[in-house]
């Protein structure tokens, strides 16, 4: 089977894990701490806006008998969450295509992933712009600061991922594509992409759904 060749295990490593793959997983471990710290900041200040009564607020709250409407747009964000989830699915197929010597599947899936990533970023830009119009900025209150920092850094990661995938797609258009190593290249890009997705899997319920 052609598959066996494309899957050739890394040569000469003691663990049998390819160097770059090990590097990526270690890096993702580091990223856990990075987003962990950002989320910790968010959690530490979670109740501060309510305690101090300085809006805009993330969710509907009653303060001194007055109902303040939450600023978070859950339906829209659910849509963008779905988009990002689907991008993970298309990414899986890009890896699958690369590893099973099906370059067209790989390229189309990469393209789909890029497009979905861009759509997600579009949602985020829209959300940020709306919030700024409604008076939520970095300096309005700690919800603004923690929200923009956390989702902003997630968005930056998505952006970097999109650039990464575009480079990969461009490189795969060359005469000999991504070369013999295509499977590994795309797989490692995929690891990064999925990680960015799971960060959102955590952020979405934490920020948007929990009261």
């Amino acid at each position: 089977m052609a598959q066996a060749v494309a899957h050739a295990p890394a040569h000469g490593t003691n663990t049998g894990i390819e160097n770059r793959k090990l590097l990526m997983w270690l890096f993702l471990g580091s990223e856990c701490l990075f987003f962990g710290s950002l989320i910790a900041t968010y959690m530490v200040f979670k109740f501060d806006v309510i305690a101090r009564g300085v809006g805009p607020f993330p969710h509907d709250v009653m303060i001194n008998g007055v109902l303040h409407h939450g600023i978070l747009d859950i339906p829209t964000t659910s849509a963008s969450t779905f988009v990002l989830l689907m991008s993970s699915l298309t990414m899986v197929f890009a890896v699958y295509g690369a590893q099973h010597a099906r370059p067209t599947l790989m390229k189309l899936s990469l393209l789909a992933t890029i497009v979905l990533g861009l759509v997600f970023l579009g949602f985020q830009v829209y959300e940020f712009v709306t919030f700024v119009h409604e008076g939520l900025t970095l300096s309005t209150n700690l919800f603004g600061a923690t929200f923009f920092l956390l989702t902003g850094f997630h968005g930056t990661h998505v952006g970097v991922g999109v650039l990464y995938l575009i480079s990969m797609l461009a490189a795969s258009m060359r005469r000999n594509g991504l070369g013999a190593d295509a499977g590994a290249h795309v797989e490692i890009a995929g690891l990064y992409w999925h990680f960015v997705d799971i960060v959102w899997i955590v952020i979405f319920p934490l920020l948007y759904l929990m009261p």
Binding site: T13, G29, S30, L33, F45, L138
Partner: protein, 597 residues
Amino acid sequence: MATAAGTLAHHAESGVWSWLTTVDHKRIGVLYGITAFSFFIWGGVQALLIRTQLAVPNGEVIPATLYNQLFTMHALTMIFLAVMPLGASFSNFLTPLMIGARDVAFPRLNALSFWVFAGGAVILTSSFFFEAPGAGWFNYVPLAGRTYSPGQGIDFYVIGLTVLGLSSLMAALNFAVTIMNMRAPGMTMMRLPVFIWMVLIISFLLILALPPLTVALIELLFDRNYGTNFFNPAEGGDPILWQHLFWIFGHPEVYVLILPAMGIVSEVLPVFSRKPLFGYSAIVFAGMAIAFLGWAVWSHHMFTTGMGAVPRTIFAANTMLIAVPTGVKIFNWLGTMYGGSLRFNTAMSFSVAFIALFTIGGISGVMHASPPVDTQQQDTYFIIAHLHYVLVGGAVTGIFSGIFYWFPKMTGRLLDERLGMTQFWLWFIGVNMTFFPMHYLGLVGMPRRIYTYDNDLGWGFWNMFETVGAFVIAASVLLFVINFFRTMQQEPTASDNPWDAPTLEWATSSPPPEHDFDVIPVVRARDPLWYNRDHNIQAEQPTGEHIHLPPPSYYPLLLAVGVSVLAVGPISHIAFTALGAVIAVYGIWGWALEPTE
């Protein structure tokens, strides 16, 4: 010679350009070493200025603001630009040699780490031309916020540390992969030299500890420049959050500083005791236990911030527990000396001194691990005594031991022993003269970070004494510098294994050829060369097989320039960010497309 062994692709051997584009781990190690030692002297000069100001009560040598910048930059220089990269110098030079590999897993990434480090060092140090940071090395807010530090100093701190952190992260990832994946046949994990174990542990510590610092730095950057209020109590922020995030990084960081020295000592002691390391596995597991526990103690730097009784108790207990694995190491080193035949040359003397000096620092650490006791010791010279005993008496002493031990391997020359022993005694006396009285001064109430003190507090004598001690240390360091230059002028005469040492780096020539080993050695035991010696096993013969080495590349340098220029945007003009980004993107593309065959 090197070329006889394999058909080696040739690269430029000398000249500035060859150093700028090198991806050879040994050369990168040398670059780290020379840069870091220069910064050690620079940090030492700052320390001498500090000591001069404190020599007498109401000293008037250095004004308050400059003094505050000096101790801040002294600590930053010593920690981030001297001791950490000195550790990196050893791990770069030695890791592939000691595990029997031809290079690290990602040679270009390795070069990038160095150049990004150089960029960060330039950024941080250049602050002296504008305004140096002056809020202490742990940079507590709100003092470090825009309101109370309106100048640019703190921005240099933030940018400099972020860039340096990036460099360390890349290096740590690289070394973790190298050690896990690139070992010679037979080099199982439990045969790894202890030094390599320590490098691996440090790599994990850095990979996991740097992100919280980065997040703290980003939040401070935003607070200072983009209007957020993470640390501003007036708007609901909390200065304590900075302390937590900083020390979540900061405590693992101190183990990053000490573990290389512990690794060095574990290599040197057996060689000059002429017997195997006592309790190898205990030492390795103790190293892991230290690294593991090191995550659960950070708040011991915050015992006086008004934490509740429960967290204080928990953090105190965890902190004290670290004495247990560390004690295991100390006693195993003593066990290594026990029954040996100790040859007290310079390398060995520094290693034995390490045991004594580090223990003193460790014990004082356990003393202020008790929160009630710490309320009397925190922010006094007792802490300064502790930190210098572990850092100077520990880390730097260990590093000197390593320099004397591996110098023949690195340069083919043996450092002069007479100068070496004189340096050692000056060092040992100077360190104790400078830092031991600090315990006493702390206990009689001298706070740290004061540029002046009154005559009638009874601190004058010992401060003068310490200042004299600091100059004794300087004399010692000066002797080393002289020794270095004198030795380098001589012909390389060192044999492959002048110490009859057991580890793989001594199986190749001194200095090693560019490809490290003519034939990758096979490892049969924990002390491979001793095993081979005792079992009369000859080294494998070269096969003439083609040895592939990665070609030099200027992309790491270019990319590092891009990153550094990009980073100074927030403290200069946004145009720099744009320019840096362009350079960086170009660098990445060139890097990705550059053939490595």
